[in-house]
């Protein structure tokens, strides 16, 4: 009961306070990799906490055991105890529904997002096969279109796509920067990270923090790829390439938001060249992220692990071994020595 309350409160805290704080923080621009980990840990941890919280309502404390039969027996005993009075039964029922619903919803949405992405990519690849021509010198597929654009097709057979407009708009150094950016997306499998965050957002569309996590992971993936490109080319070359393509890019169907564009912000970041986080700060950040992710598991496993220490219901084998040890002089001969 306490574990369940703690887990649900933790999920609430992460979504209501953690996400806005992380969105306001300045450091993610200096450490995009850490920030991606933080957003995914936050979103995953919140969903996991709700599921585990539901589970903790059903089974208050189960002794952790590698023996599945024993674990199931413990579950049955706990359930019997719960059903002994009606309030407990209702609570356990609600917990079971919560745990199952969250788990099923996340699994379903993840599977659907991944399948939809794979289908869209396959269709797009087929289209590229018809209208694009491979350019072995660039290692990219070129399609004839006057508007400049560059993108990549992640997954199995990776491709970087450039329009003829993009090739005309960029000089050789800028072109190399664009290719490095797109290959960094493919190498880092950024589409999976973004899909993961997107699946959680799709599973719970009414939770703004999860939508924010999705947007931020997508934004930070671009920064990661920019940094990878800036490691191979001068930063200002990458900024120049972004500006050249961004200024000439066709307007998206959805229209532009007020204020600066996301791409403009990336150009400013490349020009300003923010100092990366110090090694100590990054290490501390990584530890915090790990703690963020580990808390729900500890909250469930903690009491159970503590219960394991109390040997109030010893395993038959352990009990007989203990009996042998007490009857024979310690260290002289074990139970298998035949004395």
């Amino acid at each position: 009961m306490i574990a369940a309350a703690a887990l649900l409160a933790y999920a609430g805290l992460l979504l209501a306070a953690g996400a806005p704080a992380l969105a306001r923080a300045r450091w993610p621009d200096r450490a995009p990799r850490l920030a991606v980990a933080a957003w995914l840990a936050l979103a995953g941890s919140a969903a996991g906490s709700v599921a585990l919280g539901g589970l903790a309502l059903v089974v208050p404390t189960v002794r952790v055991s590698a023996d599945l039969a024993e674990l199931l027996a413990a579950c049955v005993m706990a359930l019997r105890a719960r059903y002994a009075h009606p309030g407990g039964a209702a609570l356990a029922g609600a917990g079971a529904v919560l745990a199952l619903a969250v788990t099923a919803r996340v699994s379903w949405c993840t599977a659907r997002t991944l399948a939809a992405g794979a289908l869209a990519r396959r269709r797009h690849r087929r289209g590229l096969g018809l209208a694009g021509r491979p350019d072995p010198r660039l290692g990219a597929v070129v399609i004839d279109h006057h508007e400049p654009a560059a993108w990549c097709l992640p997954g199995g057979r990776r491709q970087v796509v450039l329009t003829t407009g993009a090739i005309d708009a960029l000089d050789d150094a800028q072109l190399a920067a664009v290719l490095a950016h797109e290959r960094a997306h493919q190498r880092g499998r950024h589409h999976l990270l973004v899909s993961l965050a997107g699946s959680l957002a799709a599973a719970f569309p009414r939770v703004p923090a999860l939508r924010q996590a999705h947007e931020q992971v997508a934004r930070l993936a671009e920064l990661l790829a920019d940094d990878a490109a800036a490691a191979a080319s001068p930063r200002l070359t990458v900024a120049g390439a972004l500006l050249a393509l961004g200024a000439a890019a066709p307007a998206p169907a959805a229209g532009l938001g007020a204020g600066g564009s996301a791409t403009g912000a990336r150009v400013r970041r490349l020009i300003a060249a923010p100092r990366p986080l110090s090694r100590g700060a990054s290490a501390a950040g990584m530890l915090s992220v790990a703690a963020l992710a580990a808390f729900p598991l500890l909250a469930v496993a903690g009491p159970a692990l503590a219960a394991r220490g109390e040997n109030y219901c010893p395993h038959p084998a352990a009990a007989s071994a203990a009996a042998v040890q007490t009857t024979s002089p310690a260290g002289l001969c074990g139970p298998s020595a035949g004395c």
Binding site: R126, G127, A131, A149, W151, L243, G246, A249, S261
Partner: protein, 121 residues
């Protein structure tokens, strides 16, 4: 040219590159490496049935023309990327999204200043 898709692509390329509508014989003659005429004929008919090609009678044969220009088709592919819904944004994302003219002007200035500062250093 190994797979069937590649032959489709090669045929579309010939037809898109041609000045006017082509006979299957003309498509066949320009394909490298050479393919069996019947294979080319079959694939052209498949493309016609799929709606990629339209044809007009010329004597006893047909002349084939693409229904959409290569540029229009490329625009369709770009549209898939640019108008991406959030779901699809996960897989296809353009390198640079649109920067408005005012912002682009400011950024050009900032970039120029940074370049000059870099040279002075």
């Amino acid at each position: 040219m190994r797979s069937f898709g590649e032959l489709e692509a090669a045929i579309m390329d010939r037809i898109w590159s041609a000045e006017g509508p082509l006979l299957v014989r003309q498509v066949h003659a320009t394909l490298r490496p050479e393919r069996a005429y019947n294979t080319v004929l079959t694939v052209v008919e498949i493309l016609y049935r799929k709606g990629w090609l339209t044809r007009e009678k010329d004597g006893r044969a047909y002349r084939y023309r693409a229904t959409v220009t290569r540029e229009d088709y490329a625009a369709g592919l770009m549209g898939e990327v640019l108008d991406a819904s959030t779901d699809r944004a996960a897989t296809l994302r353009t390198f640079a999204e649109r920067i408005g003219p005012d912002e682009a002007g400011q950024l050009r200035e900032a970039l120029e200043q940074a370049r000059r500062a870099g040279e002075q250093r």
